[in-house]
Amino acid sequence: MARTEKIVPFLFVLPSIILVGIFVYGAIGWNFIISLTAWDGLKPNYDFVGLDNYVRLFRDEIFINALKNNIVLILFLILGVTLVGLILAILLDQNVKGENCFRTVYLFPMAITFVVTATIWVWMYNPTSGVFNSILDALHLGSLKSGWITDPDIALYCIILALIWQFSGYTMVVFLAGIRSVPVETVEAAKVDGAGPLQSYSKIIIPQLTPSILSIFTVMMIYALKAFDFIWVAGKGGPGGSTEILAILMYKTAFLDSHFAYSAAIATILFLMAIAIVLPYLWITRKKI
């Protein structure tokens, strides 16, 4: 009987263990092995070349450019979605009439696929017929008109802005849940002690949102690392490589150029960056349990 008790649960999880083992961990391991070979072209070539592909990567200005763009994307996207999400959550926390409606409206962009939103934002950013420059024209602010995504100096920031729009609804929901889980008693006690709304949020509520912030950081950093669809549709990393990030470079290197080992090395770097983000999160949350 005791033996069955041990075996049955194991049997239940066995299919997932096998599938995850093969398709996730097996693939990661296989990818790393490929990155150490000379595989170039459609015919596999497993000649071992050690870390050559990695050495080449860090001498490749295109890779360095993509890495820099990726870091900018991570920093500004996280900063943006955290701030906008938090502000929206605080505003919604003021017992607004029709809160549910607002919540749905803010969350709605998350329900649209990136291919659609990227296409729409590219239209809006169009310097001649796009809505941004048209509005600026209508407001007689023609001097503020810009090339938006066609201007390599600001194209990446334009994409980050669009992504903030798409993600801030999600971060708002996470923050709102966090705010609502702060015990009412502590907030009430602070009020009794004379704390105004600003102090309540800055001294009592926001400091208790660490788990929300942490999970948003992790989710958004991982998204920013593997962001592909939006940027691919919004200009395939252009103009002039100004929005090219690692995932785009990896895809192009593998599936357009057929440099599979080199692309596997980019994938490994991406994986290590994701691990560097996830491990501390897992460590911090585990400690709490």
């Binding site: 001649t128 066609t150 252009g238």
Partner: protein, 423 residues
């Protein structure tokens, strides 16, 4: 039955159902030949063209089913990725679409294609296709693809009303083109519309400029024989830079068809594009010779920038016989003359009657039969794919930043790393 035994029974039943449904046991497959075909023709015009071929195929071979897998995405950019993964997985379709030339090479190098020289000999195609084109379908003197349609890349499409209104003469030299552009600019009209959102149209424009410097020079360039400091390469870059003054400022936000839209709306006077642009104008009610017309990009008269669609036969293709029948159909006059008039392309066969084609296609067919045929870089025929990606990227950099030194060193590196080792 206790709870644990019940759970075990449920689990076991679940596994059996899963296995049965996944077709591992008990599935009796009916053996019916089915042509599995992958292509990227999903837009208006091209979809109708491939469908016409399918219905011809069905009429001829009613016992063979067709299982098509269209993967949209301009010039097959997305289809190529899917194709590579399918071939890796040992699961190729019966046949798939590919541009002849270097776009075939990764599959040839990967030992994924069947030599179909016997089919060419059996059908006697050696006498029916231009020699230059046959060369593009060959590796080591063996044939690996069958061309179905030809597009021409070095054409400038212009708004006839604008040209008439401003009394402009069609330019035949590059300097004349610049002076036409200058006149248009002075009138507040964008002279040349380009849509570089997907990068390749910018590279396409530059490859035509390279041809304008000399067809021989272009051939040397794609063979990796050109030194990047060659004055002719400088000349090509300077010509491109001269045109920067006259192209639409929103080029990075537009696709090629939206650039055609600028010509249609009268915001721009000209655009350089392959002759698939015809489909764009025609479907919007414009007529060739009335609303729009074409001229060869200045100084490329006598040169035909070839973009050739073809199909190939993967090794271990399922329903190989069905695929061979497909290749026979698309290589035949009947097949090509069914497909091309609808698609807006021309037949690769030089013995195909031209009665069914419109005036523009007739003119293109006439040129095709006398011009020097050169393969396109931007469309994958002239150089290895990895070079094409870099070429597209560096040309996008050039049109964005205008930094000649950077583009020269980039192209030099691409020639060394992506062109010469893979020739």
């Amino acid at each position: 039955m206790d709870k644990k035994t019940k759970l075990t029974a449920i689990l076991a039943t679940g596994v059996v159902i899963f296995v049965a449904f996944s077709g591992c046991i008990g599935g009796e497959k009916e053996e019916k030949a089915e042509l599995q075909i992958v292509h990227w023709w999903t837009a208006g015009g091209e979809k109708e063209a491939i469908n016409a071929l399918f219905s011809m195929y069905r009429d001829k071979y009613p016992n063979i089913g067709i299982n098509e897998e269209p993967i949209s995405g301009g010039a097959g950019a997305d289809m190529k990725a899917v194709m590579k993964t399918q071939i890796f997985a040992g699961n190729p379709p019966s046949t798939f679409q590919v541009h002849i030339g270097y776009e075939l090479k990764p599959y040839y190098d990967g030992d994924a294609l069947e030599d179909i020289t016997w089919l060419w000999e059996q059908e006697g195609w050696g006498d029916n296709f231009p020699a230059d084109l046959q060369e593009m379908a060959q590796f080591d003197d063996e044939y690996y693809a069958v061309p179905v349609g030809i597009h021409r890349g070095n054409l400038v499409w212009y708004n006839m009303e604008i040209f008439k209104e401003h009394n402009l003469k069609l330019p035949t030299t590059f300097d004349e083109l610049l002076s036409v552009c200058e006149s248009l600019k002075n009138e507040g009209i964008t002279p040349l519309a380009v849509g570089t959102l997907n990068k390749w149209p910018g590279a396409h424009l530059f490859e035509v400029i390279l041809m304008s410097v000399g067809a021989d020079f272009y051939s040397d360039f794609i063979s990796g024989k050109v030194n990047i400091n060659d004055p002719r390469f400088d000349e090509a870059l300077n010509r491109y830079a001269d045109l920067f003054e006259y192209i639409n400022s929103n080029h990075a936000a537009l696709t090629w068809d939206q650039a055609c839209g600028e010509v249609l709306s009268g915001d721009a006077a000209m655009t350089l594009m392959g002759d698939w642009a015809k489909g764009y104008f025609d479907t919007r009610g414009w007529r060739y010779g009335v609303n729009y017309s074409i001229f060869e990009f200045p100084e490329t008269r006598g040169v035909f920038d070839v973009i050739c669609d073809s199909f190939c036969l993967p090794k271990n293709a399922p329903s190989r016989d069905a695929a061979i029948k497909w290749l026979q159909l698309i290589g035949s006059i009947k097949g090509q003359n069914k497909f091309n008039p609808i698609k807006g392309s021309i037949p690769p066969r030089i013995d195909a009657p031209t009665d069914e084609y419109d005036d523009l296609a007739k003119a293109t067919i006439a040129d095709f039969r006398v011009c020097t045929l050169v393969p396109s870089i931007a469309h994958g025929s002239a150089t290895p794919e990895s070079f094409v990606t870099k070429f597209n990227d560096y040309m996008d950099n050039y049109i964005t930043y205008g930094d000649k030194t950077a583009v020269k060193s980039g192209i030099q590196k691409a020639i060394e790393n992506e062109l010469l080792p893979y020739m």
